[in-house]
């Protein structure tokens, strides 16, 4: 039996998260890339400043119109999407989109996608000194574009090459977003950490397909899409569990002497509530992101923040760090 300290409900809880290279978030909850645009739409529903961080839509070097519709189809407890990285390109994002978020003061993490390692490097270099940008997330796992994307996400050497290229051109924290469409996500996680990643985020969407049986062809214009939403949650929790195990023995680059520092994991996939987020944290995530649930209920991401705080208060947890990976430690009795 676990001891429960009886503390007052009002006692402060330390929800802060250290993602490395000085990036400390006030709380562990962020938006998931591609599910919240660049902030303006969501700002009509919630106060973005209460987020741990805002992760913007996947951004490329050049503008992209994205894939033809249909781009999205509902599945049991999930959605399959094939947006195809529609975005105005890095220059307009820097000029027109980031200032809005920067003014609010919420840490901005820019999700970038390239066709080659050099493109990732170029994107990262342009972001390095942009005011308001707190970190870079490398999307090496998008199933919805022809080139790049998945290729890098399924090959540890290619992934490491992308990370190493980016590492050279930026002093910003580098988060690598991993694909779950692999036999062993631990191998990928270790490869990118060894190449210099400060944190990993997982999972991106699972490759899937829905077929229109009346028309006898896939519903999505590009055939395949990426599955997200509650349907994938048990799979995503397991991937975080595995990545946490794999990274337990892997030092963070520059972690220095002293206490062994775990590489932070940002967990996501089907989070709809604080309960769901806590699954990821207990499985080993230091932070979490909310994606598809935002479509259904735009206030979810803030409800997760307050729900985690309440949970900690109820359980006498003073610092969220106590909970990270706790399901590994409590054992299976």
């Amino acid at each position: 039996m676990r001891r429960r300290r009886s503390i007052s409900l009002a006692s402060p809880v330390d929800l802060s998260v250290d993602l490395g290279r000085g990036l400390i978030l006030a709380n562990p909850v962020m938006t998931a890339s591609g599910t919240c645009g660049y902030g303006e739409e969501l700002a009509r529903f919630i106060d973005l400043r209460q987020l741990g961080a805002f992760v913007v839509k996947g951004t490329t070097l050049h503008p992209r119109v994205g894939n033809p519709p249909p781009r999205l189809v509902e599945t049991p407890a999930g959605v399959l999407n094939s947006i195809g990285l529609q975005n105005p390109g890095i220059d307009r994002v820097i000029a027109e989109k980031i200032p809005f978020l920067a003014r609010l003061g919420v840490p901005v993490i820019v999700n970038i996608a390239g066709d080659t390692p050099a493109e990732y490097g170029e994107l990262a270099a342009r972001l390095d000194k942009v005011s308001g940008v707190a970190g870079i997330e490398l999307n090496i796992s998008c199933p919805n574009v022809e080139k790049g994307g998945m290729l890098f996400g399924a090959d540890p050497q290619l992934a490491a090459e992308v990370v190493a290229t980016v590492r050279q051109v930026t002093r910003l924290p580098v988060i690598v977003k991993l694909s779950p469409n692999v036999t062993d996500i631990g191998i990928m996680a270790r490869a990118v950490v060894q190449a210099g990643a400060d944190a990993v985020s997982l999972v991106n969407t699972y490759t899937g397909m829905v077929i229109d049986v009346e028309r006898r062809r896939p519903v999505l214009a590009r055939g395949v899409g990426g599955l997200s939403g509650p349907a994938i949650r048990p799979l995503a929790v397991y991937q975080v569990w595995q990545a946490y195990r794999a990274l337990s023995d892997t030092d963070r680059e520059g972690g220095g002497g002293g206490e062994r520092s775990k590489v932070p994991i940002i967990g996501m996939g089907g989070i709809t509530s604080a309960r769901d987020a806590l699954e990821f944290i207990l499985a080993g995530a230091s932070a979490v992101a909310v994606g598809t649930a935002t479509f259904v209920r735009p206030v979810t991401v803030l409800e997760v923040v307050s729900g985690i705080r309440e949970y900690c208060q109820r359980h006498g947890i003073r610092s969220l760090r106590q909970l990270v990976g706790a399901a590994h430690r409590e054992g299976l009795a």
């Binding site: 519709p69 999930g78 309440e310």
Partner: protein, 299 residues
């Protein structure tokens, strides 16, 4: 500037089923009722909501179907802070919603999107609607007629059993034309058949009595000069044909478009409709109402 959308838990005030497929649902949704403009829509969760889980935030009673469904605002009862939706039970989500019972609570997000735009000086509008697509037009007719604008209604349905929203127009329509595909109510044919004649007569006469007459049983009604604009909503093929006839007649045309919507407020980028230049418009943010030449309706 359109007012900010709200997330509201709305109590069902009325629920009526019409025939085998249609239903109208009334919801107490104060701020949506106050702000809504014709052409705007709401995103509604298809399952009723439950109270919050102890200690945790319960978002919905079920994650399947996962997404909210878009429905145009059909009517507004400002005094009672009620909005009405006119729904067609087609797929899984709308059929679940069709089981709603007064007293239950549904989560509604709205009002969303850009409304119909009526320019100063416009004196006569033609509403062209098909099937459940009449919903936003009824709201539009009611609102604009109240501002003193003449409104001609041209609605088409499959058959007499699927005529919906027609009664509501009698209170304010200047002229009304009803067609059904099988002729079981109103005139037999498609809305475009009537539309072609209306546009022809309107462009050749300055003040006329509708040559095709009013098929709704009210006898011929006077038709003023010409239409300043057409507002249309219905199946894509109807919208396209309407837009083409309007263009040929030189009448401005606004269409309310439909697309699968993941979010309804601009973050998922799923509801795209191609623009003539090859870029994409978002139906939920840039629309659902578009000037017909803004978008490629066959895309």
């Amino acid at each position: 500037m359109v007012a900010a959308p709200q997330l509201q838990d709305a109590v069902v005030t009325r629920m009526e089923r019409h025939g085998s497929h249609f239903f109208t649902i009334g919801l107490r949704a104060g701020s949506i009722a106050r702000q809504a403009e014709p052409g705007q829509f709401v995103m509604i969760a298809v399952h009723p909501q439950l109270a919050a889980d102890s200690g945790f935030l319960a978002i919905s009673s079920s994650w399947d179907p996962l997404l909210r469904r878009p429905f145009s605002i059909y009517r507004v009862n400002s005094a009672e802070e009620e909005i009405f939706l006119l729904g067609q039970a087609t797929g899984r989500g709308s059929r679940i919603l069709a089981a709603a019972v007064p007293g239950q609570v549904y989560s509604v997000l709205g009002p969303l999107g850009r409304p119909f735009r009526v320019e100063p000086g416009w004196k006569h509008l033609l509403l062209v609607g098909g099937g459940a697509g009449v919903a936003p037009l009824v709201f539009a007719g009611e609102r604009f007629a109240a501002r003193g604008i003449a409104v001609t209604v041209l609605f088409g349905f499959r058959n007499a059993g699927s005529v919906i929203g027609w009664e509501a127009t009698s209170a304010w329509a200047t002229s009304r034309y009803l067609v059904t595909e099988d002729g079981s109510a109103g005139k037999k044919g498609l809305v475009t058949d009537v539309l072609r004649r209306l546009l022809a007569s309107a462009s050749t006469t300055t003040t006329s009595t509708s040559s095709s007459g009013c098929d709704c049983g009210h006898g011929p009604a006077p038709t003023p000069a010409r239409f300043d604009a057409i507002l249309a909503c219905g199946p894509a093929v109807m919208l396209k044909a309407t837009a083409e006839l309007a263009r040929a007649a030189g009448v401005p045309c606004q269409v309310s478009a439909e697309r699968t919507m993941g979010c309804g407020f601009g973050v998922c980028l799923s509801c795209v409709l191609p623009r003539p230049d090859g870029s994409y418009a978002l139906v939920c943010q840039d629309g659902p109402v578009f000037a017909s030449e803004e978008v490629d309706l066959s895309g």
